[in-house]
Symmetry: C2
Subunit: 309 residues, 2 copies
């Protein structure tokens, strides 16, 4: 079904009609962070622990497809294999959008498919740089930011903006020097800074995923955060916001497709751009005329009021 | 004018009507790369050299506004000061979108404003992580990727996807150990890999911006790339593609605004999402009904054919 969603997007409405009523509120945990900090190892370890705790677990791994390699870097997937052979765990990699590290547009659908098929913990591991980190903020319920000591000061990390979105910061490779300084720096920064009220300061933990140290504590902390998240109503609000976003995007698409079919807008725009480069004029007169080319009228419907389906 | 564009987006059409005919084809050079590699120092140095070569130079610096600091990290701006006091150089910082490192939506307008006011070299320095790197790919004509030795292997760097978009790779802090290995690694990788035909392998240079080493070579290489870029017609194509994108976005917005005004779509969507969370049903029946609520008709226009303005 994930392959269908990836390759035949025209089937998405039908698939979603069947899928959405079967969802059971699985929690989506985004694992993000800069390249090289060990996100895949952390994801494998957390996924295995969730299985041991009785959860059914799905892992979505963004697979960077680069012209340099002609496909995936296999390293991450090979490491993921050490958690395979477990029926309560399903791992799926997704091609990255445009090869620029963004999550595949199929990612939220794939998470819903996992959910509908009975998985209750879904880990989404992003390539860690670029669009993916922003995408994961909207797709995931909780975000674990993985860092490692010794790769730059805290200020540089904060600059990336992702720290503000993190629900848990995990300093991996805690056997390396600099772990304590990094932990102290975050704690100091959190002491002197403010966050939006609905977003408490994230706990900062250290671990060494490769040596299996600190992961029990991280996994327990994640479960505690999930409990808070559900009880506080933030989970419901996240589900609602994602649905609102999906509806809006779908309606905008349909409206634009109808407009484009009536006016031939894509070709007209291409021709106009070509002409405008040549004569160096503003595009706005064309924009105004093109938008005015269609007359819209509200159609009277005999159907139910707005808030019903 | 940049402040107007930032704060009063409703003025953009009028501003662009006046601005676009005054543009003279300035070259936009994006400076990007991971946090901490010295992008600001490199940008300062390249901007100063461009001034010395007789260019009028604009610098746009994305200013990460973070809840942690209550505003800008001042480091970058302070370092930029050492190139100020020069009338042929204008530096402007722009707030980052959503505080997540994305370029401000005002960035392409600010670049056009610089262009219309006579600057012919525009450097756009991005915060280096997240959305900004993707934004800069569409806004900039040429992209300089700044890296430094010793912060992770080449594979990890390649994973980020930005390498494929780079026109020049500059290894800064070349006084640090590992510079030669990093240079060799890139050269080896470029030997064994393929790139799209319209995008040659980028030159890889090393420099130490702080010690003013290697920058003359980098600046000369950038000018050589600019020459190729203009002569090959890629510059014209980039200008055309940006214009096409601008027109499309503006028309989509206008069409959606009209649809939303007729149907009250934003409120209806919010109410529908709330109801759907409660009953767990698919949103597609609502999506189909909302899209069908408006009848579109082509309006006959007495005006010119499509490709004229």
């Amino acid at each position: 079904m994930i392959t269908k969603v990836e390759n035949e997007p025209e089937l998405i409405p039908e698939i979603r009609d069947r899928l959405i009523p079967r969802r059971r509120g699985a929690i989506r945990i985004g694992i993000t962070g800069p390249p090289g900090v060990g996100k895949s190892t952390v994801t494998s370890a957390l996924a295995r622990r969730a299985v041991d705790e009785g959860h059914r677990v799905g892992v979505l791994a963004v697979d960077p497809s680069s012209p340099f390699t002609g496909g995936a870097f296999l390293g991450d997937r090979i490491r993921m294999q050490d958690v395979l052979g477990e029926p309560r765990l399903f791992i799926r990699s997704l091609a990255s959008r445009d090869g620029h590290g963004g999550l595949s547009p199929a990612t939220p659908h794939a998470a819903d498919i996992f959910d509908a098929f009975g998985m209750d913990r879904i880990f989404i591991e992003t390539v860690g740089v670029g669009q993916a980190e922003l995408d994961v903020m909207t797709t995931a319920d909780l975000i674990v930011l993985v860092l490692q000591p010794g790769t730059g000061d805290v200020i540089q990390t904060l600059k990336a903006g992702i720290v503000e979105a993190a629900d848990l910061i995990l300093i991996n490779k805690s056997d390396l020097p600099g772990t304590d300084i990094l932990l102290d720096s975050f704690r100091f920064l959190f002491d002197i800074s403010t966050r939006p009220k609905d977003k408490p300061q994230p706990p900062v933990l250290s671990a060494s995923a490769l040596n299996n140290k600190g992961l029990a504590e991280a996994a327990a902390e994640i479960e505690r955060l999930i409990g808070d998240f559900v009880r506080s109503g933030r989970h419901r609000e996240k589900v609602r916001a994602r649905l609102e976003h999906e509806i809006r995007e779908a309606v905008v698409h349909r409206v634009w497709d109808e407009f484009a079919a009536l006016t031939g807008a894509p070709e007209a725009i291409r021709a106009a751009a070509e002409g405008l480069v040549a004569d160096g004029q503003s595009p706005y007169p064309f924009i105004r005329r093109l938008a005015a080319r269609v007359k819209m009228e509200r159609r009277e419907q005999k159907s139910e009021p707005d808030h019903e389906r």
